[in-house]
């Protein structure tokens, strides 16, 4: 049982403010990802939860008890480090049993616990090896095992998969997720890989420059990005953004982009003639039957890429760069002029100045 509450948390390194007032509640058993670009403060926030960095102001509490001044060793939080941080001079079994030994768990009990976890992680054959005699993936598992054996209140992960190759990363992603569901331990997972964040998490926290941009389920964040930052961060390729003017009359709301009329969802707060940013995801643009009318985007293709299953086309609409994601089978080449259409309910309208989402 562990519910983590962070309120108005800040962190300064000297005069530099690295975390600027973060509020976050992680429910018991929840899996929450912290995601954001490099240097946005993900690791710092995680390390503050672990107690490895002190808190400038605000509070962190577990199950209602403020732990700001509790030593890391007394927080009962386990962390999987990006570089694994295995004790090189101890065997795999000793690495995993280190915390149990410290807690005074009897030797044979600890041995059983370590063996049980090793079993689930497929580490049984390696228990007597030194970490240096393991592959990267195996070390990663030992680091996981060391955290699991303790049965801590909270797991923290700092980009644990970033050193693995793509295939192993997918496999470990699934395994971590399954393990976490089975153990039901509250988990916070730092990553800058949006696929990891989207696939593993119950909820995501998008950080930017030490501030929370949005907190939500993967679907919420994808379907209703709170602002332009989130919109362009989540989704691959990134969302297309066009400058437009909002118009509304009695029956409809639409945005004009390069002379084309694009019907958008209701934007209750805006007045006629406001400048906006229109967001369209590359995967939501489809071939249109005609080249004029409502919701038409005329694209001039300048480059294409294919992965076999999918084809990406890069080009321009008017003078603005754009990308689309098509079926791998679709024949498209540079120089093509194509007409595309998009459904109104898939569109995103953002305030031109603040970048905040306007439509529902």
């Amino acid at each position: 049982m562990a519910k983590l509450e962070i309120s108005n948390l800040t962190k300064n390194y000297g005069k530099v403010e690295v975390i600027k007032g973060v509020d976050l509640t992680v429910e018991d058993g929840e899996f929450v990802s912290l995601i954001g670009s490099s240097g946005c403060g993900k690791s710092t926030l995680l390390r503050m939860i672990a107690g490895l960095e002190d808190i400038t102001s605000g509070s962190i509490s577990i199950d209602g008890r403020v732990i700001n001044d509790v030593e890391p060793k007394d927080r009962d939080i386990a962390m999987v480090f990006q570089n694994y941080a295995l004790y090189p001079h101890l065997t795999v079994a000793e690495n995993m049993g280190f915390s149990l030994h410290l807690r005074g768990v009897p030797k044979n009990e600890a041995k059983i616990a370590v063996e049980k976890v090793a079993e689930t992680l497929g580490l049984t054959p390696y228990l007597d090896r030194a970490p240096k005699a393991l592959s990267g993936g195996q070390r990663q598992r030992v680091a996981m095992g060391r955290a699991i054996v303790r049965n801590p209140r909270i797991f923290l992960f700092d980009e644990p998969l970033s050193n693995l190759d793509a295939k192993l990363r997918v496999q470990m992603r699934l395994e971590i997720k399954a393990l976490q569901k089975r153990l039901g331990t509250t988990s916070i997972y730092v990553t800058h890989d949006q696929v990891e964040a989207l696939t593993m998490s119950d909820r995501l926290v998008l950080l930017n420059g030490g501030q929370v941009e949005q907190i939500g389920t993967p679907m919420e964040v994808y379907k209703k990005p709170a602002n332009i930052f989130v919109a362009s961060f989540i989704g691959s390729p990134a969302m297309n953004l066009f400058d437009g003017i909002l118009h509304r009359d009695v029956e409809q709301t639409f945005v004009t982009v390069h002379g084309n009329k694009i019907l958008v969802p209701n934007c209750p707060k805006l007045t006629n003639g406001t400048k906006v940013k229109l967001g369209i995801r590359p995967e939501h643009l489809k071939y249109a039957a005609t080249d004029s009318g409502n919701n038409i985007i005329n694209m001039k293709v300048s480059m294409t890429e294919t992965t076999g299953a999918e084809t990406y086309a890069y080009g321009h609409f008017g003078d603005e760069a754009m990308t689309i994601k098509l079926n791998g089978e679709d024949a498209i080449k540079s120089g093509d002029k194509i007409s595309l259409t998009v459904k109104t309910n898939l569109l995103h309208v953002f305030d031109y100045v603040t970048g905040i989402r306007i439509n529902n």
Partner: protein, 292 residues
């Protein structure tokens, strides 16, 4: 292809040459000393140069270890009592200085790396900079200090001086050893429930062992070879080490080269034994395997 082979041949040849030169440079005098120590006294003064004595004699060693011995045809008292006392003095001061220096450096350097306190780096560089001060300049003030502390001609006094002289080097060495240990290992230990002391003893020090051993070897060798400090601060046989005793085999009208070299050969035994034994633990790559 040809050029490449040519280059490697040149490279190999010059490497072999350089290594031979270095070996000759460092082992030559030791060999010379050894040969001298097993050459009969009369052959020593012959003008011919021999790479190996015509007759091997252990007479000089006999003089060193025996109860009585012959010197220039007369039976004289053995110098074993003096020699063994000086040998013991050398051991006591060198081992004492080594243990204490390494102990202080192990904890001190850790503080310099992991604790933040005002003036930390400046203090460290000041300590290290003392290595640049020539010993001569501090001899007289040090002598007065030692007199006032009644530490002249004591093992403790000499050990103190050695520590103050060799600690900066050991600190410097240990600091870079600790800097090379990823802090995440310590953080992992804290999160596993270990306190600071436990982490230092069980995680950091074992990983720093090669550094500690290197520091121990350096300190021991430095202390063992010290001449000037004991010459001033160890005036009597109560504390006089080998380095000061051996040159005293030079008497007014006779230089006993054979004896000096025999003593010298015996005197280099402890450092050699130490290095050979500790080298086993100087395994590199102990850090491998902690991370990705």
């Amino acid at each position: 292809m040809y050029m490449k082979n040519f280059k490697t041949v040149i490279g190999k040849t010059s490497l072999i040459f350089a290594v031979s030169l270095l070996l000759f440079w460092s082992l030559g005098p030791i060999y010379w000393s050894f040969v001298t120590s097993i050459t009969p006294p009369n052959d020593l003064v012959s003008s011919e140069l021999h790479l190996w004595p015509e007759t091997v004699s252990f007479e000089h060693y006999g003089k060193l270890f025996g109860a009585t011995s012959i010197s220039q045809g007369n039976e004289v008292q053995s110098i074993w009592p003096q020699f063994s006392k000086a040998f013991a003095n050398s051991l006591v001061t060198s081992i004492g200085a080594t243990l204490l220096t390494v102990l202080i450096a192990a904890f001190g350097a850790y503080a310099f790396v992991r604790f933040t306190f005002p003036g930390r780096d400046i203090l460290f560089y000041v300590v290290v900079a003392t290595m640049a001060i020539p010993a001569y300049t501090v001899m007289i003030p040090l002598y007065r200090l030692m007199i006032s502390l009644s530490l002249i001609n004591t093992h403790t006094g000499v050990i103190f001086i050695y520590i103050s002289a060799f600690l900066p080097l050991a600190l410097w060495l240990m600091r870079s050893v600790y800097q090379a240990i990823p802090i995440s290992l310590e953080e992992a230990a804290y999160l596993d429930g270990a306190g600071k002391t436990y982490t230092l003893m069980r995680i950091v020090l074992p990983l720093a062992a090669p550094g500690l051993i290197a520091a121990a070897i350096l300190t021991f060798l430095n202390a063992w070879g010290q001449f000037m400090v004991p010459l001033v601060f160890s005036p009597t046989l109560a504390t006089k080490p080998l380095t000061v005793l051996i040159p005293e085999f030079v008497t007014r009208n006779y230089i006993d080269y054979g004896l000096m070299n025999a003593a010298g050969i015996v005197a280099i035994a402890p450092p050699i034994i130490l290095v050979v034994f500790l080298n086993k633990y100087l395994v590199s790559g102990l850090m491998a395997g902690s991370g990705k």
